[in-house]
Symmetry: C2
Subunit: 387 residues, 2 copies
């Protein structure tokens, strides 16, 4: 009973902190998500210590971001994604290659051997689709071409980052790299995405009425949520992030005639659950590890490398959208968020990262997530003013 | 990463099992909740073993039932509750006394000493408001007088059961019973409920516009959810169940002018989260412990005692509503659900219950929860046909 009430207190504190953080950020003309991450940092172990790591909170955070990407998928049509496929592919690829090269150069320059440097560089690579997706939703620009490119590129980015992580992990133990195996993993992941996207949309378009077969009057929603959870799980079985599956589930559900109802009904779910994701992300930062001038300088350096390399990759990949559009895409790809945190945790577990490097990479991931939303908002506003 | 995907699989399995169970139950003209509990029993450790106990799943279940009682509160006005206060008080009191007396007589007759018998009897006492509330919602009869009496009685029941549990727990260790202390605990609990109900409704009625002060367009919902989580936590600090606080939060939120929007927006939250509560409740049963004729006979006996004693208490307490109305109230109080499971767990931890008795009490609690919904549905339908 005691334990149950402790968790209830954590839920209350996290939820209220998120609301307060978002409110302050929005009053300061910044995206609410920045306030939620900052609130997580404030109430987390390294400052106020009001919340502590707990599996249940991480699960709620995971459900929150899964639902967020599901709702983003609901606003995305496959046909529109296809139209930007070429740009998305370039952005995804250059957005992986440039940060990986610059990241490994920095790591090697700081004294790591090449094998370890490549692992460190992997933490510079993966974009967190959650942060950008939330900002795009807040700004109401999900229907813009730049948004499509960012989302498509995020899927490609996740596939490439997963492969890269597999390769650099194998290198740590000196395993021989089997090209054939990598190709198979790549084909499985691409195949999973393609089959779900193509077959799923076709089935959904023709069989919308299936969603209304059950007695439950809310069955369009419950079946869509079951699809979301199922594909989220399935995508982890192909080595991809759960949010990729959730995004695909939303995208194919957007082909049904119940799409608008689903969009509407997803809003309360996001209101309750996504704050847990952003607050928990913010709570992972360890300020004590960063409390000296040398470390802060290093942090500034790697954050600049992370931002510039990803921005450059995205910008070059999206030049077909014009310079302003390419800049928006580049900025949109910058946040590393929880993905950087996860890779840093793997590095810590594998003995590649020291506690100090871990704290640096986590802080870098969160900094990229906090600086991006205001930049993105400003760029979209500027573009709207021009138009 | 692996662990994360395991939890996603559990979420998917639980959610889908609940939908399938509810669908089958409803096609058989039974309330969906019966199917959800049965589904939990089927996929739980004692049959298919598809899900395993995990803290995160229990937390989701808790959030589910908290939101359920919040939404029930939203459909409840304080003024209407006051009108049935007298009946609710009688039902709550007799519904505690009669099961407690009969339960302790059975336990003493089965060979327990009096101190232990009273602890066993405590597991016969507390009603699970969650089960009945869900049935009342499914039937669309929340506005009926009988429903109000049941909900009011459930609050009183919880206060009395909490006191009783405190007393019998103290008796196990031979602590001297301090009447003064019991009176203080009682006053605190009653005071908490009264202050929240009376003061809260007054503030809400006059200050609805506060819910729209934040920038967030969904702020009426997010502030109401914050209130729900906060009062759920606070009520545990007064020794009461979290759902009592959630119910009070809903009841005071029902005084706002945003009430209908809130009711509407709560539906998707219930659709996602309450299945976890009912499936997890069903999964607690341990069929292996019950697999002999003698045990099944005992189970049948204690289930009959549990049903008849509670029904009688509720019926006698609610006679002012006429015989049919009193019968509905009596049946509505019967489910013990997760409350019986919690008390059985405490008894197991305190060394009062054997694993065998634990399994019996859990099975009894779930049986009372499974037989009630169809009876309640039949009684309400019959009454509607008469009217």
């Amino acid at each position: 009973m005691e334990h149950g009430s402790e968790i209830l207190l954590s839920l209350f504190v996290i939820f209220v902190a998120a609301q307060v953080g978002a409110e302050i950020a929005q009053r300061l003309k910044m995206p609410g998500v920045v306030g939620e991450i900052a609130a997580g940092c404030a109430i987390g172990p390294s400052l106020l210590g009001w919340i502590h790591p707990a599996e249940a909170l991480d699960v709620l955070a995971e459900i929150g971001v899964v639902l967020l990407l599901f709702s983003v998928g609901l606003e995305t049509r496959l046909d529109e994604m296809k139209r930007v496929g070429r740009s998305a592919l370039f952005v995804g690829m250059l957005g992986v290659i440039i940060p990986f090269v610059l990241g490994s150069l920095w790591a090697h320059g700081s004294g790591f051997d090449w094998a370890k440097s490549l692992f460190v560089a992997a933490a510079f690579v993966a974009t967190s689709a959650g942060i950008t997706a939330r900002v795009l939703q807040e700004l109401g620009v999900m229907q813009r071409e730049e948004s499509r490119v960012i989302l498509g590129a995020a899927v490609i980015d996740d596939i490439l980052a997963m492969l890269l992580l597999g390769v650099v992990t194998a290198m740590q133990t000196g395993e021989s790299l089997q090209l054939g195996k990598i190709v198979i993993i790549l084909c499985e992941a691409v195949g999973f995405v393609a089959v779900i996207a193509l077959l799923g949309t076709r089935v959904m378009r023709r069989r919308s009425h299936w969603l209304e077969v059950p007695v439950n009057p809310l069955s369009p929603l419950t079946l869509a949520l079951a699809l979301c959870l199922g594909l989220a799980y399935l995508s982890t079985q192909f080595g991809l992030a759960a949010i990729i599956g959730a995004f695909l589930a939303g995208m194919i559900a957007s082909e049904t005639r119940q799409r608008e109802t689903l969009e509407h009904q997803t809003q309360p779910l996001l209101a309750l659950l996504t704050p847990f994701f952003f607050v928990m992300t913010g709570s992972k930062i360890e300020l004590a590890q960063l409390a000296d001038a040398g470390t802060l300088l290093t942090l500034a350096l790697i954050t600049v490398i992370a931002i510039v390399s990803k921005l450059l990759g995205g910008f070059l990949g999206a030049l077909a959208l014009g310079r302003r559009g390419a800049l928006i895409v580049g900025v949109g790809m910058v946040p590393r968020g929880e993905v950087g945190v996860v890779i840093a945790s793997l590095g810590l577990a594998a003995g590649v990262f020291s506690a100090h490097l871990y704290a640096l990479i986590v802080a870098m991931s969160l900094l990229t997530s906090i600086v991006t939303p205001p930049m993105l908002a400003a760029l979209f506003r500027e573009k709207a003013a021009d138009a």
